[in-house]
Symmetry: C2
Subunit: 243 residues, 2 copies
DNA sequence: CGAGGGTTTGAATTAGATCAACTCTCGTGG
DNA sequence: CCACGAGAGTTGATCTAATTCAAACCCTCG
């Protein structure tokens, strides 16, 4: 047992006790001491659906760690065309911008809670604890891999393949989204469309078709059960036979 | 003047002298001492166009620093559909995979030279020199921003907007690609198509149209001059007026 | 000069978008 | 309890940007 540290540094900080994201976020991969330092510079914030806590183009003053709820990451064109570059779930770390301004907006699509860290303070902490920086590099690398996968989807997959890929990737998020075997979609058809580079109508038709083909069932429009995972995986990988 | 280091650690390593990428790569942001350590674990490799030095799915045993030439980063679907997720230019750092296998292939499209680092050795160096890790996080963050921009392009931009965006991004790569005011394309129409989520024919027609509209001139099929940068920027940003 | 990549151009086709109507769900308030 | 309204979702008819199919047309290099 290690007793080099003062009493008050044993165990996690009070504010982190009972945090829904503790087990799944960057916080899980660092020691109590680092966690105390992190907690000391964090502000916990709650927000309602629709709240936009990062705005594309604004100065990138903060980092965020999402501890509850789901957000969408949005890029806009001047005429209103919208691309969702990703969704942030419980445990996700947001705001990794090197440049001085954010490259996307982040909007709550459910009631959310997050820890907000001033950029400068976190920067200082990172310099002090290389393990933290290391962990962030891992996070960034993983996101990069996901981004490349999404480019493949947007550039080369059909609507069916996109929807199948999306449902499987949601299903793989074991830490959220599920209720029993069912996936509870936190996002609307419009969000799905803007994430998959399709229109609302095409998403709706495609979901309807997967349902008719009995690859999925859709008890409610926001609830989806994967009935034939193998079939969906073939589809998502680009092996969809006929039509 | 700093003379804490042994004589042989003053100045850059011999192998880095005259390296075309010295000024533009990660190497530029570290000290001579780190550079010597890096050089000690590096193998310099030359390869011809077509050579595939990273293969999607293979164990990720090495990192690469490209010092000459251009590569394409490729993801494939089983039926041969291809998405190029990016191009690597002189100075670019490749192979940032956390997982045990590469998420894409990398293929030379020009004669290339690169430094190859065994993953384990570099990992050890990173632990020793946090500045290096920090630099890599910066690199990864920048790539992430670029990836998000590319998702917007693939998901929501028209063919004209995609080609205009691509030409401008090439033009911004001041460290390569240019001969005078002209851009010398290192890649084929097929590569452009697979990067932009289009077909060869659409790329060709779109370039022809931009030429007819006098936004660009195309003295040879691999050479492009931007005539109306502002017009192209409007287009790329999604402000393209009529048709 | 002829062969083989890469590129261009034209005509026909189509996946998905657009336009338009209708339905479902759910919360509010009379 | 039911009428109402608003937002989200579905479904159908039509349209179109980009693809596909097809046929030249370069260059470059042996």
């Amino acid at each position: 047992m290690n007793n080099r540290f003062p009493q008050n540094f044993e165990g996690p900080p009070a504010v982190c006790e009972g945090c829904d994201a503790r087990a799944v976020s960057v916080c899980s991969s660092i020691g109590d001491r680092e966690l105390h330092r992190l907690a000391a510079i964090a502000t916990v914030v709650d927000a309602d659906p629709g709240f936009s806590f990062i705005t594309e183009g604004d100065p990138a003053d903060h980092f965020y760690n999402l501890t509850r709820g789901t957000v969408r990451l949005v890029k806009l064109l001047p005429d209103g065309r919208r691309q969702i570059t990703g969704f942030g779930y419980r445990g996700d770390f947001l705001g990794l911008a090197v440049s001085s301004s954010y490259a996307f907006s982040a909007e709550a699509i459910e009631p959310v809670r997050f820890c907000r860290f001033p950029r400068r303070s976190l920067r200082r902490l990172l310099d002090e604890y290389p393990a933290l920086e290391k962990r962030l590099l891992e996070v960034a690398s993983n996101e990069l891999v996901a981004a490349q996968e999404q480019m493949l989807l947007l550039g080369r997959k059909t609507a069916r393949e996109r929807v199948a890929s999306f449902l499987l990737s949601l299903d793989a998020k074991t830490t959220c989204v599920h209720r029993g075997p069912a996936i509870i979609l936190p996002m609307t058809r419009g969000d799905m469309a803007d994430y998959l580079g399709l229109t609302i109508e095409t998403v709706s038709r495609t979901v309807a078709r997967l349902k008719k083909e009995e690859l999925i069932s859709v008890p409610r429009s926001d609830t989806i059960v994967l009935l034939d995972r193998e079939g969906l995986e073939d589809l998502a990988a680009g092996n969809g036979e006929g039509s």
